[in-house]
């Protein structure tokens, strides 16, 4: 984990309100892994806080993140041009891990939660893992990375909240509808809290004991575990866990969502 000055290679729209940012690494970086994230400056000194963004794709010399334009920071980030530099602390968080015996993997992603799912597919591209991907988007305009999901998944379903593209619905219902076919050994998921809550409820309603890991979002300060700004409650509420340091990936039963 290091703070680096990175150079922007690409920073362009990918879908409605979604930008793809690719930046080069000034030096070889160890421990880059799927499900980890970066904490990046937004190119405007009035924003004191970095924005946490999931590693979507990476190689020796570069990292790609995809971000939705929401507030003033991501708006400012979208104006940064190729060739400019940003300050980035990476890689952060624990990331997703897959056991040797976990061969059939269900990926359930919603909204910006689809991007860390891409990083999992990339990492196990030539492995013996078989992925069943269920990705939910707001509408047709927001859909992105569809080809990558299809290319790297045994089976890939895209759903939209308003039904303007392929099936109407959300990623969790699409997953449960197809669970008989997917028969996953493990479930990896990322998306807004309501979606993760639906996944948790769905599993317990069906009495399913499949190991399930979720990547959470919380507002951050330091991003490296020191300031206790980004906590979530551990199940039972007797202790807190830091999303940035103890997470962002948690076993679904471990934390209150």
């Amino acid at each position: 984990m290091k703070e680096l000055i990175v150079k922007v290679l690409e920073n362009a729209p990918l879908a409605d309100g979604i930008y793809k940012l690719k930046f080069s690494l000034p030096e070889k970086m160890c421990c880059l892994r799927c499900g980890k994230f970066v904490n990046i400056s937004v190119g405007d000194s009035a924003h004191l806080l970095r924005r946490p963004l999931a590693i979507c794709e990476y190689d020796e010399k570069s990292v790609t993140v995809c971000y939705q334009l929401k507030g003033s920071g991501t708006k400012s980030l979208s104006k940064v041009r190729a060739g400019e530099s940003l300050s980035c602390v990476l890689p952060l968080g624990n990331g997703f891990t897959l056991e040797e015996n976990e061969k059939r993997i269900a990926l359930v992603g919603g909204g910006v939660g689809v991007f860390p799912m891409i990083s999992v597919l990339r990492e196990f591209e030539n492995s013996d893992k078989r992925f069943y991907s269920y990705m939910g988007f707001r509408n047709r305009g927001a859909v992105c990375m569809e080809e990558t999901f299809r290319a790297l998944s045994e089976k890939s379903e895209i759903v939209t909240d308003d039904g303007s593209y392929q099936k109407r619905g959300n990623a969790v219902s699409a997953f449960f509808d197809d669970i008989g076919n997917a028969k996953p050994d493990v479930i990896l998921s990322c998306g807004p809290a309501p979606m993760l809550r639906a996944l948790k409820a769905g599993l317990s309603e069906r009495g399913l004991k499949i190991p399930c890991y979720v990547s959470l979002e919380e507002r951050m300060g330091c991003g490296i575990g020191a300031c206790l700004v980004c906590v979530c409650k551990k199940t039972g509420g007797a202790a807190n866990a830091r999303v940035c340091k103890d997470g962002p990936v948690f076993e679904i039963g471990e934390v209150e969502i």
Partner: protein
């Protein structure tokens, strides 16, 4: 290489740059980025007698060149700190300042008694605005500043006492004088200004705690004025903080009357902020042919 050493109440700092309470935890995390032994000192996360889970999230919001926080003093409690965190800090060659907070005068008395002699200095947080039932109340009026300072000092035979002042007051100079009268060996200022950020769509405050402490570069002019004002009101040394980002900022606080500085929010923006500030102070002093940083302390001349 200029001489950055500073001696506060008998405690020797290798340089005047101290990590501000609440932004640096107990040092472990930042030590993964650089050797925190380079720092003059570290003020720990605010400690209370009992373990505290702190406020609900969101605990942070952003303004223009400022942030708001309402962590609510989440901390492992005094015992856990002594058992699990102190040793690591001791392994690092840096001054250990325990920041402490309480709900009652008795809390402060007990926490000081139990920490006496175990850390290099104790910093009383009598102004952290998050905790509803305690903290804030002590730091408002001179009388209560005096009371809590005297009660704490009574139990400190070995460890020097720093009283950390709140800016949300009528006269921070009067409060500083009250702290001095109460036996404070040093005052540190400023803690956070109280503010609010609103989510217009939901028409609710962004922070779960509704209000929070404002800090960061935008409030530097207010902190600087308050350090100068206090330097004219007390003779105990002053630790200045509030929006320090660069070496020049730190030197401005020293010129205004501070003997040392704390850096908090800047650690979020630039994880290497403090090492850069230390380097920058050295370079500035060398470039200006000044042998020791303490020569600058309180050298501000007024206009007109």
């Amino acid at each position: 290489m200029a001489d950055l050493k500073v001696n506060l109440c008998g405690v020797e700092f290798k340089n005047p740059v101290i990590a501000a309470s609440g932004t640096f935890g107990f040092g472990k995390e930042f030590d993964a980025l650089y050797d925190i032994g380079v720092l003059g000192g570290i003020s720990t996360k605010g400690l209370t007698l009992e373990k505290r889970l702190g406020n609900a999230v969101p605990r942070i919001a952003e303004g223009r060149s400022v942030i708001l926080n309402a962590v609510g003093l989440q901390n492992p409690g005094l015992d856990a700190f002594l058992a699990e965190d102190l040793d690591f800090l001791k392994s690092k060659n840096t001054v250990i300042i325990a920041n402490v907070a309480g709900k009652t005068v008795e809390d402060y008395e007990e926490i000081c008694a139990r920490l006496d002699g175990k850390v290099d200095m104790i910093e009383l947080n009598i102004s952290c605005p998050n905790v509803k039932c305690g903290g804030m109340a002590f730091g408002i009026r001179p009388e209560s500043v005096y009371t809590v300072t005297a009660a704490s000092k009574k139990n400190l035979k070995k460890t020097p006492l720093i009283v950390k002042l709140s800016p949300n007051v009528e006269s921070i100079a009067a409060n500083a004088a009250a702290a001095e009268k109460g036996g404070a060996d040093c005052v540190s200022l400023i803690n956070t200004l109280t503010g609010m950020a609103i989510d217009l769509e939901r028409r609710r405050p962004l922070l779960a705690n509704n209000t929070g402490g404002v800090s960061g570069a935008g409030i530097k002019p207010i902190a600087l004025r308050m350090v100068y004002e206090v330097s004219k009101a007390v003779s105990v040394p002053i630790i200045g903080m509030g929006g320090i980002v660069s070496a020049e900022d730190a030197l401005e606080f020293i010129v205004a009357g501070a003997s040392a500085v704390q850096v908090g929010t800047a650690n979020f923006t630039d994880t290497l902020a403090m090492p850069k500030i230390i380097e920058g102070m050295n370079a500035w002093l060398d470039a200006h042919g000044i042998a020791g940083v303490q020569e600058l302390c309180g050298t501000l001349k007024m206009n007109g």
